[in-house]
Symmetry: C3
C-alpha cells in the first residue's frame, strides 16, 4: 500500500483541504483511527468526535470545515469511505493463484466458474457449484450439491457439508463447519433416538463468518444467515435459526434452535439465546446475557435472565449496594425494636 491523501482525494473526486502528502495505510472509525488512517464523518452531530480523532484524514460533507484537520470534502462521505475500503481490500493480492491445484479433487459433475482459485487438497464433491472468481484455500471441503456464489473467500480447513447455499462475496474463516446435523432427538424409553436432519443452510450475500464457527443444518427447511451479517469466532447457530440482514454476532454467542432474529441485531460476546424466540429488528443483547424471552424491535437487554437495559442497570446497581441495604435493614430492626420497647412501657 502506497497511497497518499491526495491520491485518495482523486479516487473519490473530493476536495482536499490540508496537505495531501501523508501516506494512508488503513481505514477506521473516528474513535479507533490512528495516525495514517482515513476516517469519515457522515453525520454532523459527531463533529466533536471528529475533532478528537487521531485519523490522518477525514472524509466530510461538502461545505464542512474542521479546523486543524486534514479533510476531504465529498458529496457523500459514507459511500466515498466504502469506496476507499474496497480499494484497500483489493490492493492486498490474494495469497492463492487463480487456477486449480493438481491435488484438488473436483467431481466431474461439479460446475466451476471462471477465474477461481482452488488450493491444494481441496475437495469439491458431486454437483457442487463454485461461482466466478471465488478463492478456496487448501484443505477445504465442499459437499455434494453445495453452491458457493461468486467472489467468495474460503480459508483453509473449512467444511461446507452437502446442500448448503452460499451467496456472493461471502468470507468464511478456517475451521468453520456449516451444515452439521442439528441437535435433535426423541427420547424413547430413556434412549435418545436421532431425528433425521435433512434441511439445509442458506448463507446470503456479503456475510462474513469467523473461525471455528458451527452452523447446523435445519431439520427440514433452511437455517438462514441474512445478507451482510457478520459472525465472529466460535459462535454456535443451531438448526432452523433465522438471522436477518446486517446483524453483528460477536464471539462465542450461542443461538438455540428455531429462534428468529431480525435485521440489524447485535448479540455481544458469549450471549446465549434460548430456542423458539423472536428477536426484533435493531435489538441489542449485552455480553454474556441469557435471553429467555422474545425481544421487541429496538429492545436492549442485559443480564441472565436478560432484562431491559435500564432495569438491568438498576438491578445491578442495587446488587452492588446490597451490603449497604442489609445494614439499613439491620439498623431498622434495632430502631423498631427500641420503639416497640418504649411503646410497651408507655402502655
Amino acid at each position: 500500500m502506497h497511497i497518499t491523501i491526495a491520491d485518495i482525494a482523486q479516487l473519490i473526486e473530493g476536495e482536499l483541504v490540508g496537505s495531501g502528502q501523508m501516506e494512508i495505510t488503513g481505514c477506521a472509525g473516528l474513535k479507533e483511527a490512528r495516525e495514517g488512517d482515513l476516517s469519515f464523518l457522515a453525520n454532523p452531530k459527531y463533529e466533536p468526535l471528529a475533532k478528537e480523532s487521531k485519523a490522518g484524514a477525514i472524509l466530510v460533507p461538502r461545505q464542512m470545515a474542521l479546523a486543524g484537520k486534514t479533510i476531504i470534502r465529498v458529496n457523500h462521505p459514507s459511500l466515498a469511505f466504502s469506496k476507499v475500503i474496497d480499494h484497500f481490500l483489493k490492493d492486498a493480492p490474494p495469497l492463492i493463484s487463480v487456477g486449480i491445484h493438481p491435488t484438488a479433487l473436483i467431481a466431474k459433475d461439479a460446475k466451476i466458474g471462471k477465474n477461481v482459485a482452488i488450493g491444494p487438497y481441496v475437495i469439491i464433491e458431486s454437483k457442487a457449484v463454485i461461482g466466478e472468481g471465488t478463492l478456496i484455500y487448501a484443505h477445504s471441503y465442499v459437499g455434494h450439491g453445495t453452491r458457493v456464489g461468486a467472489g467468495c473467500l474460503i480459508y483453509p480447513h473449512v467444511t461446507l457439508r452437502e446442500k448448503i447455499s452460499v451467496g456472493k462475496r461471502v468470507i468464511i474463516h478456517s475451521g468453520t463447519v456449516i451444515g452439521s446435523d442439528g441437535y435433535g432427538y426423541v427420547t424413547v424409553e430413556g434412549r435418545h433416538m436421532k431425528i433425521p436432519q435433512v434441511g439445509g443452510v442458506v448463507i446470503e450475500d456479503d456475510v462474513e463468518i469467523g473461525a471455528n464457527v458451527t452452523i447446523d443444518r435445519a431439520r427440514f427447511d433452511q437455517t438462514t444467515i441474512g445478507e451482510g451479517t457478520k459472525i465472529d469466532n466460535l459462535v454456535q447457530i443451531a438448526h432452523n435459526v433465522t438471522i436477518g440482514k446486517h446483524c453483528l454476532i460477536v464471539a462465542q454467542v450461542g443461538i438455540s434452535g428455531s429462534t428468529q432474529i431480525g435485521n440489524h441485531v447485535i448479540l455481544a460476546g458469549q450471549a446465549g439465546v434460548v430456542g423458539h424466540l423472536t428477536i426484533g429488528d435493531g435489538a441489542v443483547v449485552g455480553a454474556q446475557s441469557g435471553v429467555s424471552k422474545s425481544i421487541k424491535s429496538g429492545g436492549q437487554v442485559f443480564g441472565t435472565p436478560a432484562q431491559p437495559l435500564r432495569e438491568a442497570f438498576k438491578t445491578n446497581a442495587h446488587i452492588q449496594r446490597l451490603d449497604h441495604y442489609v445494614q439499613w435493614i439491620q439498623e431498622l430492626r434495632k430502631r423498631v425494636e427500641e420503639l416497640e420497647k418504649k411503646d410497651a412501657k408507655n402502655d
Copy 2:
C-alpha cells in the same frame, strides 16, 4: 423419501385408523411435529398433547382412540417409532461410496473392516482399527492405535488422536478433536511445566458428538463418554471427565477435569461445571449455570453459582423486585424516623 402412512402401518404391523394416503416426510415429538411428520404417544397422560399435535399421524397403544386424528395402533408405540426412525435414517443414502479412496493413506498394519468407506485424503495411522461398515469422510485423521467400532460415521476434518477407543454406531461431526492433551501443569518457580498426558479417551456405543467439540485425553486412565450420550457443538470436556449413559450435553458447555457425571444427566447450553465434582443420575443443569458443588441424583440447579431450581427461581424473583424492596426500605426509614421524632417529643 416416498412413504405413506399406510406403508408405515404395514412396516410396524399396526392398525391404521384414518386415511393412509398422506406421505410421511419425517419424525418428531408431539410438540415439534408438523404436517407430514409421524409422532408417537407412549404414555396416556400425554393425550392432550397428542390432540394438539400437528403431526400427520400418531402411533398410539392398542385400543386407544384419538378423535379426528390419523393414528396407527401398535403394541409398543415407542419401539415402533424408533423402528420408523431407523427406516428414515437408512433411507438417506450416504454421500460416500463403499471403498477406500486412492488418496487415503492407510498404514500397513492398520486393520480395516469390511464394507467401510474411507474418503479422500483420510489418514489412518499405524495399528489403528476401523470396524465394519464405518464411513470416514474426507480429510479425517485416525491416530496410532485408535480403534473405531462398526457402523460409525465420521464427518470431514475430524481428528482422532492416538489410543482413542470409539464404540459402535458413533457419529462424530466435522472439526471435532478427540484426544488432545489435558490442560495439566505444575508451576515451578513461576513457570508452568507440562505434566505428561498419557491416558486415552473412550467413546461408548451410540454416542453422537457435534461439530468443533474438544474432548481431552486423560492424564492416565481414560476420559469416558457413556453409551447413548449426545453432545452438541463446541462443547469442552476436560481430561479425566467421566460422562454416564444417555446424557444430553448442549452446545458450548464446559466440563472441568475429573468431574464425574451420572446417567441421563442434562447440561443445558453454555453451562460450566468445575472440576472434581460428582453430578448424580438424572440431574438437570440450566443454561449458562455455573456448577461449583456436586449435585445429587435427580437434582435440578440453575444460576451462577448454581442453586437448586426452586431457590434459584425465588432468588431470581427477588432480584427482579429489588427496586421495589429498596423503595420499601427507604419508606420504612422515613416512617421509623417520624416515629422516633414523635417518640422524642413525647419523652
Copy 3:
C-alpha cells in the same frame, strides 16, 4: 516408561530416603498426585500437604524429613522436578518420524530446518520457515511467510495463516486457527464494511495452545501471546490483544479486542473480558466472570459484572439470603404499621 524411584534419585543426584524399588509412572502436584506419581515440595509451608499427598515419592530440600514418606533430598526440588518431567516427556517417542512425507507440499522458497518431521498432506506456503526439530502432523497448514521456531509440536488440522511468528518449543493442538481476520467493521448506512486486518500474530517461546482455539491477527501490529503462557481449548483471543508471560487461560475464555493482559494472570473457564482493558500482573479472574473494568496487579475478581473477590463473595452471600431479608422487610412493615396505629391513637 520403566523408571524406579532409585533411577530418579540417580538422575537428579538426590539422596533417597525409603525404598527405591517402586516404579514411577508420572509426575503431579502434591494434591493431584496418586500412587506411582512423583511430586515435589519446594516451600516448607506446604509440608502438611506433602504429608497428606498420595505421591509415591516426593522431592524435598536437603535436610528435610517427612516421616513415613519416600523422599528424595535435592538441592533444588523444583528444578529437579522439572528435570524429571522433561525426562518423562522425552521418553514418549513422537508418533511421527523425522523426514518429510512425500505428500507434504512445501514451497520451493520455504526454509525447512534440520531433523524436522512433516506429515502427510501438510502444506508449507511460500517463504515460510520451519525451525530445527519441529514436528508438524498431518493436514496442518503453514501460511505464507509464517515462521515456526525450533522444537515445536503442531498437531493435525492446525491452521497457521500468513505472517504468523511462532517461537521455540510451542505446542499447538488440533483444530486451532491462528491469524484469522480480526472482527472489525465500520458501519456505513446500515451496512458493515470490513476494515482490512493486515497485522500479524506473535506466539512467544514455550506457549501451549489447546484444541479449536481461535487467535485473530491484528488490524495492524501484532496480537501477542507471551512466553510460557498456556491456553486451554476453545478460547477466543481477538485482534490486537496482548497476553503477557506465564498466564493460564482456561477453556472457553473470550478476550475482546485490544485488551492488554499482564504476566502470571489466570483467567478461569468461560470468563469474558471486554475490549481495551488492562489486566495487571498476577490478576485472577473467576470462572464465568464478565470483566468490564481494568484490574490492578494482583487483583482478584469474580461475577458478572466482575467485582473484587471479597465484595463478590459478600454480594453473593447476600443474594443467597435475599428471601430472608425480604421476610425481614415485610415483618418490619407490619411492626412499623402497628407502631403508627398506636401512635395515631395516642395523638
